[in-house]
């Protein structure tokens, strides 16, 4: 792996002034147990891990907090505002996450529809404006919509996170054209968040030229999360390398690979 990577001439992956070695970011939700989660995260090679802010369970004999399993010195903790349906709620969770997580980065979600968990872009933009004023570095989970992405960039986000398909759906990259367009038009990093289901989805997504991918359910809901995490790591690297390499043009007809001359009579 090290040999192969050394061949790839890639720019560093930098978000909000911080540089990361892995373009794969992973969530920490929905694992069957903490040990499985830790193994999967290690196998993924991710440095950035997302987590949610929730009430401490006061009735529990053993605490369900996640930091007992993940070393904040080893991983970059990215708080999310998952489950928030209004800008005010998302801002409140972002502030709590900043206190809990030792950094000013937040993965901002303002959900607009319970069934599809699609983002409320107007609410997202309002919450972004507030948080940017307060010094947050916002990574905004949004639709694969160019205009929304441009508005978020103008509002000062450090990364735009268009979805591949709805959260937890595993449907893969439904709109490669729009994601490519967003990547082409934005200056801030574009990290596809949500919807990747298996390694080929991750590879195709990275081949669009985006800067990274964030996934959770694809790992947590795999039969063997650590092995899927390994596959995703390879797929993200493969897709990135293929993008950098520049693919051959598509042709409708065949073009022989072997010489036409020199054939026997």
């Amino acid at each position: 792996m090290a040999t192969a990577l050394a061949l790839v001439k890639d720019a560093p992956f930098t978000i909000g002034g911080r540089t990361f070695g892995s373009r794969l970011m992973v969530g920490t939700g929905k694992y069957r147990d903490a040990e499985t989660m830790v193994q999967a995260i290690e196998a993924s090679g991710a440095e950035i891990v997302t987590m949610a802010v929730r009430r401490v369970n006061l009735g529990a004999s053993q605490q369900d907090g996640i930091l007992q399993y993940l070393d904040p010195k080893r991983y970059f903790l990215l708080a999310n505002t998952a489950g928030c349906f209004t800008p005010d709620e998302a801002v409140r969770y972002a502030r709590l996450g900043r206190e809990a997580g030792f950094n000013e980065f937040v993965k901002l979600e303002v959900i607009g529809d319970q069934e599809t968990l699609l983002p409320d872009v107007a609410g997202l933009l309002r919450a972004t404006q507030t948080l940017v004023r307060e010094g947050f570095k916002v990574l905004a989970y949004t639709n694969e919509d160019l205009v929304a992405a441009l508005q978020l960039e103008a509002a000062g986000v450090v990364a735009v996170m268009p979805l591949a398909s709805p959260i937890g759906s595993g449907l893969g990259l439904l709109n490669p054209y729009s994601v490519r367009l967003i990547k082409r038009r934005l200056r801030v990093p574009v990290v596809v968040d949500a919807g990747v289901g298996t390694a080929s989805d991750a590879c195709v997504t990275m081949e669009q030229g985006v800067d990274g991918i964030l996934m959770n359910t694809a790992l947590a809901a795999a039969r063997d999360p650590a092995t899927m995490a390994h596959a995703m790591r390879l797929a993200v690297e493969a897709g990135r390398a293929a993008f950098l390499a520049g693919r051959m043009p598509r042709r409708e007809g065949a073009v022989p690979s072997s010489p036409l001359g020199g054939m026997l009579d």
Binding site: G27, G29, T50, M51, V56, L58, Q63, A79, G168, M215
Partner: protein, 70 residues
């Protein structure tokens, strides 16, 4: 004389000693102040001053931490 006041902690009513601080409350709940974030009447109270902020009747207190999420 009633030596307790009623507050709401994580959405549940709870009686606490009159004049206790947020740090006292965490100790009563056997929570490590380093592992929770405290929101007191919608304002975040940072760890170093938890022992200086007193809890009053009707206060809303939220005790949160990181859990698994995507």
């Amino acid at each position: 004389m009633n030596d307790t006041v009623s507050v709401v902690v994580n959405g549940e009513p709870r009686a606490v000693g009159r004049g206790v601080t947020l740090l006292d409350l965490l100790r009563t709940l056997e929570l490590d102040p380093r592992s929770v974030v405290v929101e007191h009447n919608r304002r975040i109270v940072r760890r170093p001053v938890l022992g200086e902020v007193h809890v009053g009747a009707g206060d809303a207190i939220e005790l949160v931490h990181f859990v698994g999420g995507g």
